[in-house]
Each structure stands twice: as C-alpha cells, then as structure tokens.
C-alpha cells in the first residue's frame, strides 16, 4: 500500500493499472470497494443489486482505465463510473420487471409488534423520501448520515467541496423531516445519544 512510508496516490495506482500492473488494480479495488458500495446503495435499494453494480463498476473501470487522465483526481472519475453502473442496473431492472418497489417492505410479511411495525413503516417512508431527493443531495446524505463518512471524504469521492456536501446533507435532512412530519413525536422519543 505504501512505498517508503508514503501511501501511493490513487492517481499513481491508476497510472500503473494503465500500464498493466495487476497489483495496483488490487490496491485500488481494496481501497474503493466500500465507497463504491456506498455510492451505489444510494441509487439501488436491494443489497444484491448493489453487489452486482459494484462488480460492474470495477469491470467498467478496468475497461475504461485508458481513458482516465492521471492529471485529474481519480475518485470523482470512479464515482462517475459507479453512478453510470448503478443507472444501467436500474434500467436493466425496470426492463426485467415492471413491478413497483414494495412500499411497505417487511410490514407486509406478517403482524409485528406495534413499535416495530411503526418503525418499519417509517423506514419505508424514509426510503421513498430518499428516492425523491435530487441525486447529489441523496448521495451526500447516504455517504455522510447512513455510511458515516466525513464531509471531506464524501466531497473527495463526489468531486465537490466539503462545504457543498454539508449543504446537501442539511437540505436532505430538512426535506426528509418535512416528509416525515407526522412522525415528529416518534422522532423526539427516538432521538438518542447519536444526535
């Protein structure tokens, strides 16, 4: 991972991949497998779809690596590849099935205790509200609030400043709260130490 104590930059690794270095490819995959999954998860609800699209992302990355300009940051380039792979997956899924995404999720599987049922209902509402967010806002919210990334890291991956990421997260939270206004009392009860 490091040469002489200094971590090898993404751009250097990508350049090595361009020259056919498999070890460099392995390093890039290990370094970006988690962020790529997190980005794709903001587009696709199903974990199995996320896995498929993540694999497709790295395959596309390998096929298109010769088009990557090593003078530019690698992470936003890979972010675009992941974004496109996720969109292709959505298009493929919509062709495969015209069934809508189940609105109530696990709640439909059987009776649940009241609290769990309510939480499940709220999560389904959150999922729908997330789908309605603009793309950048949704991705920023997902990376920061769901996957626990720092604003700076999320910004580095998305190719935007950390201030912009914070703004996106702020607006996403606000928009989600508005969409879930009827659960305000539950929200107050569940506000725990994490907040």
């Amino acid at each position: 991972m490091a040469e002489g104590g200094e971590p090898v930059s993404d751009e250097t690794l990508a350049q090595r991949v361009q020259r056919g270095d498999r070890a460099a490819l392995e390093q890039l995959v290990r370094r970006y497998i988690r962020p790529v999954h997190a980005v794709i998860a903001s587009f696709l609800p199903e974990p199995s779809q996320v896995d498929d699209a993540a694999q497709e992302t790295f395959l596309r990355m390998l096929r298109a690596i010769h088009t990557y300009d090593t003078r530019r940051p690698f992470a936003p380039w890979l972010y675009q590849v992941a974004r496109n792979a996720a969109r292709s997956q959505i298009a493929a899924e919509s062709l495969r099935s015209t069934e809508p995404f189940p609105a109530d999720g696990p709640a439909a599987t059987g009776p649940l205790p009241d609290v769990a049922a309510e939480r499940s209902e709220i999560r389904a509402r959150v999922a729908r509200a997330l789908e309605a967010l603009p793309e950048q806002r949704r991705v920023a919210f997902r990376l920061v609030d769901v996957d626990g990334m720092g604003a700076a890291e999320a910004g580095r991956i998305m190719g935007i400043s950390d201030g912009t990421v914070r703004a996106h997260v702020h607006h996403a939270r606000k928009q989600l709260r508005e969409a879930l206004a009827e659960y305000a009392n539950v929200m107050d009860d569940e506000r725990g130490p994490a907040t």
């Binding site: 056919g20 498999r22 490819l25 392995e26 995959v29 290990r30 497998i33 988690r34 962020p35 999954h37 997190a38 998860a41 609800p45 974990p47 896995d51 993540a54 694999q55 790295f58 395959l59 390998l62 096929r63 939480r119 709220i122 999560r123 959150v126 999922a127 997330l130 997902r142 920061v144 609030d145 769901v146 996957d147 626990g148 990334m149 720092g150 604003a151 700076a152 890291e153 950390d162 914070r166 997260v169 702020h170 607006h171 939270r173 606000k174 989600l176 709260r177 879930l180 929200m187 569940e190 506000r191 725990g192 994490a194 907040t195």
Partner: protein
C-alpha cells in the same frame, strides 16, 4: 476510510438540520475491516482477472504481424539509404568528368592546344593550330560549295 457512525463534522451549528434517528435510516455498508469486504474484493478481483485476460487476448496481435510492423520502418530506412548511396555513387562516377570537360572547353578560349588537351591529346602548338585552321578552311569550302536557298528558285 471513516468509522461507521454519523459524521460529527456535520453536527449542527444553529441552523443546521439535525440528523434523523439512525433506526429510521437504511442499513449502511459494513464497516471497514469487516470480513465481508475481503470476500467481495476477492470476487471482484477474480472477475477483473477474466476481463484482464480477455482484454489482453483481444488487443494482442499475431507475432508475425507484430514483427512486420516493427520491421517496416527499418526496412524503409534501409531502402532509402541504399537508394541514396547508389544515386551518390552514380553522380560521383559521371558528373565530375563531364563538368571538367565542359569547363575546359570554356577556359580554352580558342587556344588550339588547350582544346586538344580537353580531349586528352597533348598537341604540338603549330600542328594544333594548323589542324584547327584546316578544319575551319574545310568547313568554309563546304559551305561555299553548297547552293544557296534563293539560287534554286
């Protein structure tokens, strides 16, 4: 990579919207270092290996074509060099002699000995002059004997 918890750097200043309860949000990706990532990375690397091999095979060219492509500039260069050498050789064998003869005629400036010398003959000055005069006289006689164009009519 960061830890799997909401980012404290986004903790609200006064107007900053508060995070939603964690229980309401979708499941996040597993934290870094989780064994699941190792398995996923291994699967992706296996897939990329197939793609890598296929791509290498697709872009590979037969060795003979590769050799030809490598040799063609060298062959072109060699042919050019040979042509240049031949051309230079021809010029070296013919041109200086012809040029020398032409220059000698010019520099002879009517001197009979010098004129004979351009033909490689070391002539006696008197004989050379006589030969030249005799040739001139002979040419004049032939011209005089030839009927004029106007007399024929």
């Amino acid at each position: 990579m960061t830890e799997h918890r909401p980012d404290s750097s986004t903790a609200p200043d006064a107007p900053y919207a508060e995070p939603l309860p964690r229980e309401w949000l979708p499941e996040g990706v597993a934290p870094e270092g989780d064994a699941v990532w190792e398995a996923r990375a291994a699967r992706i690397l296996l897939l990329t290996e197939h793609a890598w091999t296929a791509e290498a095979r697709r872009t590979a060219t037969p060795w003979l074509m590769e050799l030809g492509r490598w040799l063609s500039p060298a062959a072109l260069l060699a042919a050019s060099a040979a042509a240049l050498l031949l051309s230079a050789g021809n010029q070296a064998s013919s041109t200086p002699q012809e040029d020398a003869a032409a220059l000698s005629l010019i520099t002879a400036d009517g001197d009979p000995v010098a004129l004979w010398a351009t033909l490689g003959v070391t002539a006696d000055p008197v004989l050379a002059l006589l030969t030249l005069e005799d040739h001139t006289a002979w040419t004049s006689r032939v011209d005089a004997a030839r009927p004029a164009t106007g007399e024929r009519r």
